[in-house]
Amino acid sequence: MSQFTFSLMVIAGFVLPLSATAAPQAQEYRIVIKNHRFEPAEVVVPAGQKLQLVVENQDATPEEFESHALNREKVIPGNSKANIFIGPLKPGSYDFVGEYHEDTARGKIIAK
């Protein structure tokens, strides 16, 4: 039965070797986390394009950028930056939160 484990691992892991491919080119949008708030809390972006959010956590504590609307979830350690690729988006509003400080850390992406 151990061939099974092996073959399943191969099937499940077949996408990982592709990691060598370069990240796609995308326009950058910078968001800063400070005092458990997003700045800016509202980001207007063009619809129908791939985008890159550069989220810089200036707090000393980690934060989790989370958005069900964008299907994104990423822990950003204190005093560090994270790249998050999104889109192409349909026109509309997409909420995101900092899961660890949901009462203050709230924002939205508006795609036009």
């Binding site: 061939q3 499940a12 996408v15 000393a60 989790e64 990423k74 822990v75 204190g78 994270a82 660890y100």
Partner: protein
């Protein structure tokens, strides 16, 4: 205190539900308690290590380390769950018959139990590392130790209680249908985890999204609600699924189901054949 309780509860709930399913799926196996406890312990230690190296993991692979790490953890769990279901489709019938006949636990063998140990450890590792990071943040932010501990423990207890309830519900299913039901849950659980993995790989810019939102049922049943999150863990429910996520979901179900069918068919006809080569070709 309430804030920490809710976050810890949410993270613990995901792991607790998976452990409940794993406990159910290995029902009747001698020593499963020890195996799964070991999985929890390994996962908890792993969670602390992952949390300690969160920055390093994030920065790895051009800032996409976290996505690859999460995807890898999820896909290994999918492989283990798949393997378990395939194993059960070969041995489950006999196992259930033995349980009924003997009226007590039977030897299941090391392989399926170690698969369940890995699934447990990975679930605890993933959710646990986020919990550790969150609590560390609160502690560093000056929240009182006692409030933190109290809030965290309350969340842990509530999450564990729901997992326990699910398990109690599962074991009420009669033995005759039991493994058929847990088999389905394991199948859907694996498919949901695969869809999550697709999300991370898309987040890393590795897979196309295909369709950013196939539907939006967040008004009907929010993934953030308790029931929505429970369904998310158990059957992979997403209120705004992506195209690539749905494809991973369906392909995982079809692949595991096909392997299960292959094995149970093979067992009836030719005994143990060269399944791996056949499934690969």
């Amino acid at each position: 205190m309430l804030g920490s309780t809710i976050i810890v509860f949410r993270e613990v709930l995901e792991a607790a539900l998976i452990i409940a399913v794993v406990l159910g799926a290995s029902r009747g196996a001698t020593g499963r308690g020890r195996w799964i406890s070991a999985g929890v312990a390994i996962g908890a230690i792993g969670a602390c290590i992952v949390a300690a190296f969160a920055g390093r993991i994030s920065d790895a692979l051009n800032g996409r380390g976290q996505e690859f790490f999460n995807a890898a953890v999820l896909l290994v769990a999918v492989a283990m769950l798949a393997w378990h279901n395939v194993w059960m489709s070969a041995h489950g019938r006999k196992l259930a018959a033995d349980m009924r006949r003997l009226g007590h636990d039977v030897m299941m063998g090391v392989k399926p139990l170690s698969a369940m140990l890995v699934v447990t450890a990975l679930a605890v590792l993933r959710e646990g590392s986020e919990t550790v990071l969150f609590l560390y943040g609160l502690a560093a932010g000056g929240t009182g130790q006692l409030a933190l501990l109290g809030g965290g423990m309350l969340g842990l207890a509530a999450g564990a209680a729901l997992g326990f309830l699910l398990y109690k519900g599962l074991v009420r299913i009669p033995v005759r249908q039991f493994f058929a039901v847990t088999g389905w849950i394991v199948l859907l659980l694996a498919a949901g985890l695969a869809a999550n993995a697709a999300g991370y790989l898309n987040q890393a810019g590795l897979l196309p999204v295909l369709s950013p939102q196939v539907w939006d049922s967040s008004n009907l049943l929010s993934q953030h609600s308790l029931f929505g999150q429970t369904l998310h863990v158990l059957v992979g429910y997403q209120d705004r699924p992506t195209g690539i996520g749905l494809i991973f979901y369906v392909v995982t179900i079809l692949t595991i189901a096909a392997l299960m069918r292959l094995v149970s068919g093979n067992r009836r006809n030719t005994g143990s054949g060269s399944l791996a080569t056949r499934s690969m070709s």
